[in-house]
């Protein structure tokens, strides 16, 4: 609009800055658009410079095209549950002496208490050590290969510890052909993934290896079509789950879909009954399933040149790591944060370990904390009102690229979940992704002690932004 034509057009100003100017405009009968502005990148000059480089029109255009491709893949992905298998037979790169863990890469020495508890428990479970002391020695001996789940097309909840004989979901994204894996829910709270490792934990893992996994695998052998997980996830959101901290509906839907096949397997009624009782013992049964659903979708969006879309967020209890489509397999990390939320009776925030697990893949995909508005029943976790829960989901629109039309939130007029976190938008607005998650005790051997919300460290996004500025704005 030329200057002269502005003179004959109604003035429609945006007021960016002092509120008193907006009041003066209103007093003159002009309604300004109001801003809730904070300095980009928290006022860090280096971050602002990086944002500036990515805003050059030619660069911004390339990024927009790449992000459209990336988010298009996330929305188009159709993850199907194809079956279950043991990690050694299915997960790429798995060996008898490999332990996969959650989060970005970490050495045994730097691992947090609960992750060390899970690792030693797994080594005993695998028969590689006769007790926890020997396991700790073995873990530090250099004979065990530690590697992030994410680097093996996998995700793992909490400690994410996955060893050779554990059973995993096998999920294929039928749109793009990639496969993803995750292990099975241990239910309850005193479990390996939360750092517990006593005999009861090992006994349960043995039963899962010998009965639970084989029954589920046999059931899916009978299901030739596979299960459309995106469809189930979408239904679960309509039934009040956000698919990270609330999985009541999703678990019901999943076991309902599996049941006809389970009953057709050759296992004994007693064994089938044990399986059903175990599934019924915790709403969390389907939690890992939605994680691997998200992983299968997000992997399809990885490695697109020039894209600033986040493809993974995960934590190992020490570091929080993210990966970005345009920077491929590179990790950008910052310190894992304290999870804030209600604790089980008898525990205080001083007992809690730092943020841990690959489950933030659900938020990366657009559910979990991003779909908070779908799950009013658990607003207590965020310590707020239902109204605020609605606000959380809307706020995530400010840092994402699109809304997923296949996974929607009824209470927000069927708004699609906010998808495709854009590193630039996070750095600019200072709005950090909202993650719903569980709290593990900081010491090994105890387990889950609460749940709540957490944000990633801004450093991870700032590092990623600088790398993108160096790479994309070349």
């Amino acid at each position: 609009m030329s200057i002269t034509s502005l003179f004959s057009t109604e003035l429609k100003p945006v007021n960016l800055g002092l509120d008193m100017f907006a009041e003066d405009l209103r007093a003159q009968g002009v309604a300004p658009v109001l801003m809730d502005w904070t300095p980009p990148g928290g006022g860090d000059p280096e971050v602002i410079a990086a944002l500036g480089r990515l805003e050059r029109p030619d660069v911004a255009e390339r990024i927009a095209a790449a992000n459209e491709e990336a988010v298009g893949r996330i929305l188009a992905a159709q993850p199907f549950l194809e079956g279950f298998g043991q990690a050694i037979d299915t997960v790429p790169g798995m060996t008898r002496t490999t332990i996969l863990h959650a989060g970005p890469p970490i050495s045994w020495e730097r691992m947090c208490g609960p992750m060390k508890g899970a690792v030693t428990g797994a080594l005993v479970f695998e028969g590689l050590a006769k007790d926890l002391d020997e396991a700790a020695e073995l873990a530090g001996s250099g004979e065990i290969t530690f590697s992030p789940c994410h680097e093996h097309q996998s995700v793992g909840s909490m400690a994410g510890v996955t060893s050779a004989s554990m059973w995993v979901h096998k999920v294929t994204n039928r749109t793009h052909g990639n496969t993803a894996f995750t292990n099975l829910s241990e239910q309850l709270s005193k479990i390996l993934r939360f750092g517990a490792n006593d005999q009861s934990v090992i006994d349960r893992l043995n039963w899962m290896r010998d009965v639970f996994g084989p029954v589920l695998a046999a059931a899916m052998e009978l299901n030739e079509g596979g299960l459309d997980l995106r469809l189930l996830l979408s239904q679960a959101l309509h039934m009040g789950d956000e698919a990270h901290n609330r999985n009541v509906a999703g678990t019901t839907l999943l076991i309902q879909a599996l049941t006809p096949y389970i009953v057709e397997t050759d296992f004994s009624t007693k064994e089938k009954r044990e399986v059903f009782d175990f599934v019924a013992s915790s709403d969390y049964f389907s939690g890992p399933t939605w994680m691997v659903t998200a992983k299968a979708a997000m992997d399809a969006a990885a490695g697109i040149e020039d894209s600033t879309v986040v493809t993974a967020m995960c934590r190992n209890g020490v570091d929080f790591g993210i990966r970005v489509s345009g920077t491929g397999d590179r990790w950008f990390t910052g310190p894992a944060q304290q999870v804030v939320g209600p604790m089980f009776a008898g525990y205080t925030p001083e007992d809690s370990g730092l943020d841990m697990g690959d489950s933030a893949i659900t938020e990366t995909y657009g559910v979990g904390g991003f779909a908070m508005a779908a799950a009013p029943a658990i607003v207590a976790l965020v310590g707020g009102t239902v109204q605020e829960a609605m606000g959380y989901s809307r706020t995530m629109n400010a840092i994402t690229t699109a809304n997923n039309p296949n996974v929607t939130i009824p209470a927000l007029d069927f708004m699609g979940v906010p998808s495709g976190i854009d590193v630039r938008k996070v750095a600019e607005t200072g709005i950090l992704p909202l993650i719903n998650t569980a709290i593990a005790h900081k010491d090994p051997g105890i387990g889950m002690i609460g749940a709540g919300i957490v944000h990633p460290p801004v450093e991870a996004f700032q590092q990623a932004l600088r790398a993108l500025a160096d790479g994309v704005a070349r």
Partner: protein
Amino acid sequence: MTRHIDIRKNTYLDSVSLMSMSTKANAVEGVTQALLGMATPMNKEVLLNVGVQDPAIDAAKPSDLMIVIDAADDVIEDAIRAVNDILARKTRSADGAAEGRYRTLDGAFAEVPDTNLVLISVNGAYAAREARKALAAGKHVMIFSANVSVEDEIELKNLAHAKGLLLMGPDCGTAILNGTGLAFANAVRRGSIGIVGASGTGSQEISVRVHDFGGGVSQLIGTGGRDLSAEVGGLMMIDGIEALAADPETEVIVVVSKPPAEEVADKVLGVLGGTGKPAVVCFLGSPRTESGYPNVQLVSGTKPAALAAVLATGVDESTLDLHALNIPLIEEVRAKLAPEQKYVRGLFCGGTLCDEAMFAALAKFDNVHSNIQKDPAYVLGATDASREHTFLDMGDDDFTDGRPHPMIDPSLRLQRLVQEADDPEVGVIAMDFILGFGAHEDPVGVTVPAIEEAKAKAAARGQHLEILGYVLGTDLDTPALAGQVAQLEAAGVTIASSSTNLGLLAREFVAKGDNR
């Protein structure tokens, strides 16, 4: 004495809010000093300069809020509570208003696509980037923020020019577009006189004088004070003139600025000459008298500029009240002043008003000191005591560093006013009072107690202290002109009818017989 230091992570408040909260916090009973600010390198330096040093402050990031309170031991707890209350009130109202607000300009443009202008008043360090985004989205821009680099200014203005958009500023205090005042502006009649101004209060003054002479303003475009420098080359001024030339509502074009770079002045006059429309140019303090173009008239002050513009619209001069200088008044005041009362002290909010009064004094006196003097021998700093004739632009950077503009927060000027009254050689204190959008809600009322105190000090030593006031405003402003003038008169203040007359009267009041 106890020092309380509190760093609030990721808590952003704009600098003007913070400064007004600082003012309130410093007024809390028992507080020796309270400092509130974002932890920018500049603010940290400010703290260091006043002797506040702490590892927590060193570690704070620009997105963190720093709170430092010094108070007596027995009241520190109360002081902390009081300051927290002040902060809580602000944050609450900010939260309450957050509904329907946008975090980023791109977000706002996406939701409200028919916006056409962005008024930017965030910290100058961030203003250029936001302006770039607004221009990229095809929006006109006004940058109120100061402290934007000249490189950014040139880049933004070239970008705006290429897109045919306004880039008013940086440091652009005023504009009136389509009858709507932006930032600091007065409520004036709409009409056929278009103004392009590189000086904010100069533009305000001309708009008010035009209104007073019965004329009206079609558009008032601000360019920012650096536009006519050799580096910027008048980019916005020229685009503004051309837009007004093409505007059918604009019959007469007025240009106001401090003296421009010579080659830029030539360029601006050439463009005005080419418009064919009658034009009036006020380059304050410039020795030029001839424009070289028949349609372009050069005038010496803001009032002559407004008058010439109104006359150019075809108004008969004999129908106007010209507010000629009141000669009997001058004689009357001279008679009241003692022989030693030789000097004027000017305390100004408006930079152009200060300039105009200073130039009037310079026409008759040599010993004129100011923080905006061009002659280095006569430059005064903000903390220097006044000397001989002194004219202070208290809205200039050396006075506003770390505090709000005196048009918003008059406290520093009030202190200075009372201080000047201690000098028995002072005959006249000249002050401006600026009304309108963006300005203090009652600039006269807040000053009257200090005026009374100043006059009482002089009276105590048997002197009459002449206080000369000019109220820049109109009958349409809130508060209205008449009420503010009446308050001044009631306090014994002599009223000047314009910025030009303020300068002339102040000078003449102290000019002794031999100096005429």
